[in-house]
């Protein structure tokens, strides 16, 4: 089967400020099976997310898989402090697209 973009498997892919120096991404699934599909594919890792955003892996501040919530959480260091010169997204809420377009290989 051909790979499918994350947005077709997860129910929510979102981005948001977590304080003025971080942007946090959440991938949420209603169904456990979809969460497991994404997790077991190995396609979402700090390395792959960094690559999707043109970042170095050292810019990934943290990465969590949260069984209880069928969720994966990735946090990056903001390219610039919130509201400083060149800010394009004050709430950090429109940064999710490269993540939602990441391809999940299906077996």
């Amino acid at each position: 089967m051909s790979p499918r973009p994350l947005r077709e498997i997860a129910d929510i892919v979102r981005s948001k400020n977590a304080g003025p120096y971080r942007i946090t991404f959440d991938i949420l699934c209603k169904e456990k099976s979809n969460f497991e599909l994404i997790r077991s594919s190995g396609a979402i890792t700090p390395q792959s997310v960094a690559k999707a955003y043109g970042l170095s892996v050292t810019d990934i501040s943290s990465f969590f898989e949260i069984d209880m919530a069928n969720a994966i959480k990735i946090t990056i260091k903001r390219p610039r402090a919130q509201g400083s010169g060149g800010e394009g997204d004050m709430y950090g809420c429109q940064q999710h697209v490269p993540l939602m377009n990441m391809l999940i290989p299906l077996r």
């Binding site: 929510i12 209880m68 919530a69 946090t75 402090a81 919130q82 004050m90 490269p98």
Partner: protein, 447 residues
């Protein structure tokens, strides 16, 4: 201990709630109404300028409903981070609205205001004593940064709010406070487990954002001995294990460990259980006190004054040449206004205006929106430079130009807009204190 119920009317005071939801929530006999009114989330402007995030009209309308609801049954109303950033000028502004409400409704009440502004000299002494550490800013706090800071606040924990409750306050208007502390203060004051109360605060502070369908609306939480239970005010919503657990991740980095003033909460053993169709029961939060008590400082500095110009570009030859043109204009403007420094930013919508360096898709653009932004030491200089750039861009000649009559489609005359002072965060650091209440003076008045 019998359950202690907190009613949180909405995620941010001023953003609304349903009358039906408030009425139904009040019928569940809450012990307190507690709501958050600010955050760093809207950016540094509200901290720096002292301007309110939400209009007085909205704040007064909602505070009137809440104070009336609270006074009817004799329960306190607690508002934290008032005005958006919780600075003294914002505390004063909100307290004035409460006085007007008391006068207009004829309600008698005891008003407590809690300030959270930190004198710059106090913070400088702490920096000199090595009592300030970086949180996430990636740099240390310096004396110079503090000298430039126009407003400095610290996030209070629940303790100053508990002190205001000790004083018998009916309405508490608190400066900058941890979102969860605003919700947790009353249950903790009544003897609830702080771990459960603070965890409940983290979820409840966004109102019915943890319910489905989510909204800025009423949410209730009841703390028991070994758990807390969440339920939306409106019967049109429900709390589900999914909605609550998903919300636990929102706007925070670490879903398992969260630091607060004087403590760290461990959520790794938490469990969520569907208690009834509309209620979720949460257990398992653990709290450990930290050896030293740190509060988070938030400071803003004036970065200058901003003028902007908004224009569209449709010609493919201009779009193709855009980066080179903008680079040239930048160099020319810096030379033209030297030695006065000017800072320029170009937002190219339709290309990478939203994501900037994080944008990885580079397709063909049919048209782009250009926002030219200039920040300078005075509004006059920012305006002059912005017009110099927009005018130069309008008539710029570049290799391959096909339409020499103008490169920019302006929607407005004047083409350049003054948008006022610009603030930046100057402090986002932790400062050690001797006691949880020393920085947060309380004043009480009978209305």
């Amino acid at each position: 201990m019998s359950g202690i119920t907190v009613l949180t009317p909405t995620g941010t005071l001023g953003y609304g709630f349903g009358d039906e939801a408030l009425a139904r929530g009040m019928s569940l006999k809450p012990s307190v109404i507690a709501v958050d009114a600010g955050s760093t989330d809207p950016g540094p402007h509200y901290l720096g300028s002292g301007k309110p995030l939400v209009s007085d009209v909205s704040i007064k309308r909602e505070l009137t409903a809440l104070i009336q609801a609270g006074r009817n049954v004799g329960i306190p109303v607690i508002v934290g981070s008032v005005g958006g950033a919780g600075s003294s000028v914002q505390v004063d502004r909100t307290a004035k609205l409460v006085r007007e409400i008391a006068k207009e409704t004829g309600l008698k009440l005891k008003l407590a205001t809690i300030r959270s502004d930190i004198p710059i000299e106090r913070a400088k002494r702490a920096v000199a004593a090595g009592e300030v550490i970086d949180f996430e800013a990636g740099h240390i706090l310096t004396q110079e940064a503090l000298d430039e800071t126009v407003t400095l606040v610290a996030q209070m924990g629940h303790e100053p709010i508990c002190a205001a409750l000790d004083a018998g306050a009916d309405v508490i208007i608190a400066g900058r406070a941890c979102d969860d502390s605003v919700i947790a203060a009353y249950p903790i004051w009544k003897g609830a487990d702080p771990a459960l109360a603070i965890h409940m605060g983290k979820i409840l502070e966004c109102g019915a954002f943890s319910a489905e369908p989510f909204a800025m609306d009423v949410m209730l939480g009841t703390v028991h001995d070994d758990s807390f239970v969440l339920e939306p005010g409106s019967i049109k919503r429900r709390a589900s294990v999914k909605s609550v657990s998903a919300h636990s991740l929102y706007e925070r980095e670490n879903p398992f460990k969260q630091g607060g003033p004087g403590h760290e909460i461990d959520l790794s053993e938490c469990s969520f259980e569907q208690l009834s169709d509309r209620q979720v029961r949460v257990t398992g939060a653990k709290l450990s006190e930290t050896d030293d008590y740190y509060v988070k400082l938030e400071g803003a500095r004036l970065a200058g004054y901003r003028s902007i110009s908004i224009a569209g570009i449709r010609c493919p030859t201009t779009i193709a040449a855009l980066d080179g043109i903008l680079d040239q204009l930048k160099v020319r403007a810096i030379e033209y206004f030297a030695p006065s420094p000017i800072s320029m930013q170009f937002h190219v919508y339709g290309r990478d205006g939203v994501m900037k360096e994080l944008e990885q898709e580079h397709g063909l653009q049919r048209e782009v929106g250009l926002v030219i932004e200039v920040t300078a030491a005075t509004q006059e200089l920012a305006h002059a430079a912005c017009h110099q750039i927009s005018g130069a861009m309008l008539h710029h000649h570049y290799e391959g130009i096909i339409n020499p009559s103008g490169n920019l489609a302006f929607p407005y005359s004047p083409s350049d807009l003054d948008v006022g002072p610009v603030y930046e965060f100057s402090a986002y650091h932790l400062m050690k204190v001797d006691t949880p209440t020393e920085l947060f003076p309380i004043s009480i008045e009978e209305l």
